[in-house]
Subunit: 355 residues, 2 copies
């Protein structure tokens, strides 16, 4: 029996509501597919920050290190500035563990109601490969002349050769292994003077290593329009930290909701634990009411199973999600047009996994 | 009779095809509404760059200075790197003339086929107010260690107090004067550590000066999803140079095409000429075939008329555009589902203006 040690960080808001459903589905998948989990829960959150002044303990990264994977809910809550909560937990984990790939599927699942016309499940099916360790998310910079008329803020983005090449190469490898044959690079080299022309230069260089694949680039402005106008077109879309972030919310938006979208923060070299979290945030507006949609968290757990080398179990969870979403039974949460509660939907998926 | 001196820069690609149509419509509007134009054409373009090594002459800005306004087509062509062509013409004009507002309507015109469901003309009707002079579009930065494994590029963004406050204030003033009452700020203060928290801080400060208006902020990732999921919600959306750029392509994408979208690069203090250009680019893929849609250029000319203090003429041009797009006659270009050529559509709009 395979055995995995999983660090569980529910975090804030609806993170606390969707996480138990993911664990329940994982237990069901474990029994069915012969995988055993030990879950170690950490209360790292904005609530903890308010109590202790830190999102996680000083040795937080060390505490996580021994685990096979990390399952994260959502971080951020009113009263704690976002850049404090995120740079105190989510972003350091991504970086300390060199989870340099943020992999996010954009897939129209059955049962969703997409805002765009004339698309059916299967029509929208692509992946965003987001750089997850550098780029526009940088602590370099600062403020000068505070309070004076000359006040200004400088913000640096950092694109290293190593960081740029490895994410581009991952995108091409991923396309070759799992996909049709098109890699689209998100750029903005007509406006952003230094970093984006460099990104393009490296994209061209890496693309040459993959003559069997098609490569194209689009400026981020028109690319967002094409996500809406031609979502069928895309296969693998690679972008910087910021552009990947934008595209991996917009893509799920085009499928009808970001409430079901998962993500994987991966260290492809497996030197460190990888982290799996839904794309949605802590949603303070609906937190505490028991109506949050747990599918993003559950699908993230399915990606974790794939990564851990239990792809049969991962596929089983995703199939269960699809069958429950497609059914018209009473298990759907309000955002999906139903009246069920978080636990009803999680329970229905767990039951479908066990079946 | 009012008289205006207009600098005309068709630029590259389809810029050369759509510009004559805008001039023709302006002539028609001039006759009808009693406005006279002198058009001074400049051949500044990538073609000129290839010939002379410069997009515009060294004293280009001086040559433009005496004009009442600038009408620009599109810049950029294969063989000239985008960041060369744009930083050699479009961006210096925006900056030298301190056109710090880039104003872009997002409006579902009659006759368009939006990709999103259940929207009719009138349902999508908002404005993007984009910062146009600083932010992420910056020449500060550079490359280090070229060709070594340690190669890296640093790119700075610059947010000054002056630059940030004036665009935010413009957005609130614009909302108070012309709109319903909601200003949405595009941010990413959870990921971008220095600049975006500063943007939020200034947004909160300026919003306090406008207690009669509603103010909200959204992170750019989820905001793009909401453009697709809830386009009716928005009224005035204010964003940095990059975020405004993205949103003002995505918004028109949601209405069916960026081919008809206009923009105004405005110096609100009127110390310098303002510049009017379509949102679309030079479209090398369709250039030279006479099928480009001239509406973006024509609508930009209508915005120019408004700015010049001839709002009746501006409204007349926009009404003519709407009536021709709504008609099922043979004047529509292929991107709008017709078979007409650029000149047919321009001619039909000019005739409708004269009518
Ligand atoms: C061509 C490019 C530099 C420009 C911009 O990003 O400003 C364009 O996309 C626009 O929106 O006007
Ligand atoms: C919460 C925020 C910092 C985060 C990001 O931008 O990386 C989130 O939007 C995501 O996509 O994971």
């Amino acid at each position: 029996m395979e055995h995995f040690e999983i660090a569980v960080i529910p975090g804030d808001g609806i993170g606390n509501e969707v996480m138990p459903e993911a664990l329940r589905v994982l237990e069901a998948a474990g029994s069915r597919y012969g995988v055993e989990f030990a879950f170690h829960e950490f209360d790292w959150s904005c609530e903890r920050y308010k109590r202790t002044g830190r999102m996680m303990p000083e040795d937080g990264i060390e505490q996580l290190r021994g685990h096979d994977a990390i399952l994260l809910g959502a971080v951020g809550y009113p009263g704690v500035p976002d850049h404090v909560s995120l740079w105190g937990l989510l972003i350091p984990i991504r970086r300390e563990f060199d989870q340099y790939v943020n992999l996010r599927p954009v897939r129209l699942l059955p049962g969703l109601t997409p805002p765009v016309r004339d698309v059916s499940p299967g029509d929208i099916d692509f992946w965003v490969v987001r750089e997850n360790s550098e780029g526009e998310y940088s602590m370099l910079g600062g403020r000068q002349g505070e309070g004076t008329p000359g006040e200004m803020v400088m913000q640096a983005s950092v694109f290293t050769r190593r960081g740029t090449d490895r994410i581009l190469r991952y995108a091409f490898e991923f396309a070759r292994r799992n996909r049709r044959s098109l890699v689209t690079s998100a750029t903005k080299s007509n406006g952003i003077y230094h970093s984006m022309p460099y990104w393009d230069e490296r994209f061209r260089a890496i693309a040459e290593e993959y003559p069997d694949l098609s490569a194209e680039q689009e400026h981020i402005d028109i690319l967002t329009a094409k996500f809406v106008l031609r979502p069928r077109h895309f296969d693998v879309v690679v972008g910087s930290n910021l552009f990947g972030d934008i595209l991996s919310d917009l893509g799920p938006g085009v499928t009808g909701t970001i409430g079901v979208a998962p993500s994987a923060n991966i260290d492809p070299e497996r030197r460190h634990p990888s982290m799996f979290e839904p794309v949605h945030g802590s949603a303070p507006d609906i937190a505490g009411r028991g109506v949050a949609n747990p599918v993003g968290q559950i699908w993230s757990a399915a990606m974790m199973l794939d990564h851990l080398g239990a792809p049969e179990a991962g596929a089983g969870v995703l199939a269960a999600v699809e069958s429950v979403l497609a059914s018209t039974d009473a298990a759907l949460t309000p955002d999906l047009g139903g009246t069920a509660r978080t636990g009803d939907l999680g329970g229905a998926i767990a039951a479908a996994v066990a079946d």
